[in-house]
Amino acid sequence: MKGPLLQVQDLHTRFETYRGTLRAVEGVSLRVARGEIVALVGESGCGKSVTALSIMRLIRAPGKITGGRVFLDGEDLLAKSEAEMRDIRGGRIAMVFQDPLSTLNPTFTVESQITETLRVHGVASGAEARSRAVELLEAMGIPAAKDRLRSYPHELSGGMRQRVMIAIAVSCQPELLIADEPTTGLDVTLQAQIMDLLASIKQERGLATVLITHDLGVVAQFAERAAVMYAGQIVEECPVSQLMAEPLHPYTRGLLRCVPRLGRPDVPISPIDGVVPDLVNLPDGCRFAPRCPAAMERCGQAIPRLYPVGGERTVRCYLHEPPDAPATAREGD
């Protein structure tokens, strides 16, 4: 049996700031199988985007990957040369970002941006690249694809721009797609169109997807497995159905209680008190402890490990520590 397509092991990414070291990602481990959609979910600043950028090796100074390994189909990406990474980015791993207006080049036409990708990765050039571009746009559900090739990004609507971004992302037949908030800022009817498109691409091409989002509704609807992040760490990971039905980590439970349920005024919205910790001055112990309604004394002393709970589930909380667990691991173990 083949291993997972993507395997992230104990990833650490830090940023040196004038205030001190900002620990954006600390000990994140993640597996994505071929054809699987895994959501990385959390609020602003939880480290989900930095995790994605670290996988792509797109962290620039003052940021630095300080530990861990990232395997794509068994090959360690962190050991690759920059030239090798350039082939992998856009080739084997593609990325779709939140804001297509700032990721598409405003001074080039749609055609030149799609054919550039095809050319750089040696997939096609000249007239062939042009006809491939038309096919891609048609596959993305863009009407009058031929005419759209001559358009500049500002001439397209938000939904169309995101379709062009996705066309560029899948143009070189990647094995892994990292979609960072692909529908944030789009209206729900457009969001439904784009997510439908991503789901059908996954179906047709068996594309593995890391879906980064803050929106638990999007997770519930589209992902198979989810990893919930809080202050740079994964606090809970499990199949989405379990996460929605019975969240275990107090943060996940609190987060789900914050989400207004459509047409269910009988399910009250109850906020989580307090704010996320400063990543430069993290609390000792569990990072959620200062806001946790179930916090115990030991929660403030050492960070709990990700404890296995049943089959495919892990939870970073002492409440779910197996009775025979060894003594608490220190951070970074």
Binding site: E43, S44, P143, S157, G158, G159, M160, D187, V188, T189, L190, Q191, A192, Q193, D196, H214, D215, L216, G217, V218, A220, Q221, M244, A245, G254, L255, L256, R257, C258, V259, P260, R261, L262, G263, R264, P265, I269, S270, P271, I272, V275
Partner: protein, 323 residues
């Protein structure tokens, strides 16, 4: 004082903006609605549907091209500017972006004190005391009053915006996407603050949002807008659980659900048409998935009652009140 409990009434309100090449952008087209005292009306719709423009018109931050707006029986467009100015404190707006709606050069105390001064509160000590009260009301520490907006987080800034609106002791709050830029845990905090204050001061509110789940939690009634028109209006739970207009139905089917089964989304073809080139007849007919009749392309459907207190603007929706 009007005795019917209606606080604000919009009567055939229209806002057209002139655009280049003599075109007209029809932002809001012939909208009529009313809000009772202490009631919350949710205004939902997608980008560009005119919900923000309507919100601004209702508190006269912008003047309608046609139509009338009545506050407590007073015709707001028929009175002198100084009379209108005297009424303005009664209607206050809370904006979406807590970064651009607070003056970065002023302290929080100065920001909140300004409306107090304008309303005639005098004496440094009394003003300071009132600012402290207002900050405490929205859950901020009064000792932070001397700080500047950039020293606060997004959620805290939104609280400051709410405190500023409350300084006028309004009867009506128009909240335009007040939680759109906030994380969900912070969003829940702000919604709670708004709800508590509304109950405490019997505030009427217009809650403008693209997020129907949020609106369904805070509103008694919901108005759904599409391309400058209200296409459906009714009691919140009725609109959510028994939507009548095909647009509302598609919109609701696309809302991602948490903790319950997802209906198969009705995917609408294409994009929303430009308000510079509004389709003839029913504005939704270019994207409608129902079997259309000739009137759909020729006649603009009026908003009519299809169930008790539940209105829809569609030729194809049968009324269940008349038989």
């Amino acid at each position: 004082m009007s005795g019917d409990g209606i606080l604000i009434r919009a009567d055939h309100v229209t806002k057209h903006f002139p655009a280049e090449r003599r075109r007209v952008l029809r932002a809001v087209d012939d909208v009529s609605l009313e809000i009772a005292r202490a009631e919350t009306l949710g205004l939902v719709g997608e980008s560009g549907c005119g919900k923000t423009t309507l919100g601004k018109l209702l508190c006269l931050l912008d003047e309608p091209t046609a139509g009338k707006i009545w506050l407590d029986g007073i015709d707001l467009l028929g009175i002198a500017p100084n009379e209108l100015r005297a009424l303005r404190p009664r209607m206050q707006m809370i904006f979406q972006d807590p970064f651009s709606s607070l003056n970065p050069h002023k302290t929080i105390e100065q920001i909140i004190a300004l409306p107090l001064r304008i309303r005639g509160l005098q004496g440094r000590e009394r003003i300071r005391q009132r600012v402290d009260e207002l900050l405490a009301m929205v859950g901020l520490d009064p000792s932070q009053a001397r700080r500047f907006p950039h020293q606060f987080s997004g959620g805290q800034r939104q609280r400051i915006g709410i405190a500023r609106a409350l300084a006028c002791e309004p009867e009506l709050i128009i909240a335009d996407e007040p939680v759109a830029s906030l994380d969900v845990s912070i969003q829940a905090q702000i919604l709670q603050v708004l709800r508590d204050l509304q109950t405490r001061f019997h505030l009427a509110a217009i809650f403008i949002s693209h997020d129907i789940s949020v609106v369904s939690h805070v509103s008694q009634r919901i108005a759904v807008m599409y391309l400058g028109k209200v296409v459906e209006l009714g009691p919140a739970q009725q609109v959510i659980h028994d939507p009548k207009h095909p647009y509302t139905r598609a919109l609701l089917s696309a809302v991602p659900r948490v903790g319950e089964a997802q209906p198969t989304p009705t995917l609408l073809p294409g994009d929303i048409p430009s308000p510079l080139a509004v389709p003839t007849g029913c504005r939704f007919h270019t994207r409608c998935y129902l079997d259309q009749i000739a009137e759909c392309q020729s006649d603009e459907p009026a908003l009519r009652e299809v169930a008790n207190g539940h209105f829809a603007a569609c030729h194809l929706v049968r009324s269940s009140t008349a038989d």
